[in-house]
Amino acid sequence: MSGFPILATRGLVKRFGGVAAVDGVDLVVDAGEIRCLIGPNGAGKSTLFKCLTHQHQPTSGHVLFEGRDLQGLPTHLIARRGIAIKNQIPSIYANLDVRENIRLATLRRKLTKRELDRAVDLVLAEIGFDNLLAERPAATLSHAHRQWCELGMLLASDPRLALLDEPTAGMTREEMLRTVDIIKRLNATATVIVVEHDLEFIARLAQKVTVLHRGKVLVEDSMERIEANETVRDIYLGRKKDAAYAEG
């Protein structure tokens, strides 16, 4: 297993009609990393994620997970190999309660019923849900709690690689900080790739940041160097800061 990066894409392309949402991405992520993916809207971040799990079939190119090509594998088998994804749109089962949602995520693991129950309880503690919250239908949760429930599902599936698409969207700063802690816990056992816009969040978590722009990797570096990068400022940070100045 060692010797291979946990994830490597080679010339990954995804076209929708004439538009290449992902346009030749070569991305290498080492085991144990927390990698942040940033980029303006439409840069192809979410599409890239969905190509990794084959929720979208890549038009061309390869995805290597622990050195093995995922080509032709259906989504559920990729999940069973250990790639878990939290999509951008909150995806929990609204009609099931929190415990059932998390229980579902544990099913890929080969555990006995007692071990599963214990795993579910452990995850509930890790995301800070008491019994009262755990019995509630997911539909009745607040926005932040839904996100945490989803992170709980990721924790419960015990993945090798976790893909998080905007896990702090719409959160207050305190909620964001709590999410940082949950993701650090996730990173203790899994490699994490996370798409985010929140700069403080990125600074607190990421060792390395990859900037996507128009379906391509623009630059890959530490957060400080990325912030100092002229091109990145122009296409992304600069524009965002301008907007912030305009509002403030």
Binding site: P74, A79, N87, Y93, L96
Partner: protein
Amino acid sequence: MDQFVILCFAVVNSIALLALISLGLAVIFGMMRVINFAHGEFIMLGGYATVIANHAGVNLWLSMFVVSPMVVGLIGAVAERLIIRRLYGHLVTTMLATWGLSLFLIGAVTAIFGNTTLGVSAPLGNITIGAYSIGAYQLFLIAVTALLVVCSLLALHWTKYGLIARAAMQNAEMAATLGVDCDRVYATTFIIGAATSGLAGALLAPISGVLPHMGAAYVARAFVTVISGGGALITGFLSAATILGPVEALLSYFATPVVGQASLLLLAVIILRLFPTGVSSLWTGGR
């Protein structure tokens, strides 16, 4: 007094009958949103399997509870693989295809067994209530239906498979990212639905006999019950059966069976006018 008891029995019997013929459809339509026009024929095949097996010397109970569900489940598996699987999400095409399947099954059974009624005699004898007597087998039928409904509820809410099935039906793409093989869940669900319909047909065979086009008598009432029930899978069609059954039974008793069935359809229209997503929207919030 005796007449009142008999009337109550007729009402409960009518509810149970609706529930029994709807259960398999509730599984297939309710969970997979597949409109299976061959539902009546699955019931018919279940009936035939029991009658034929019994005539061939197999114990009646064994024929009903083992042979019929297995035979119809197997036919369901073939139908799923050859037809249904290719048409998921295409509602109208599926309707046409299963209608074709229904005609084919009627034709095939007619060709093999002829267009005559076959039957087995109802076991268990009669129970006398005052001046009236009712078949003990019908009481048995009510009990089995109740048991089936309870088992379905338990399976859906307390087993691992039930949880996976509910998840796959709610959102297949998400379930796949959790490692669920949705194709297999669909196939299994369809087979369980078919086998349940087969069992229903088997249980009805001693009462109604079997005939190649007997399915037509059940399919409309089953659809009406499941659709009036709405989103909540088991509790939905059960409550619809509880509303529709008494009306059909009482009007059949005081007027004629034709009036009873017509009023069942009329009542369903009213229910769907008031609750477009079925009566269960009252407690599920209209999903």
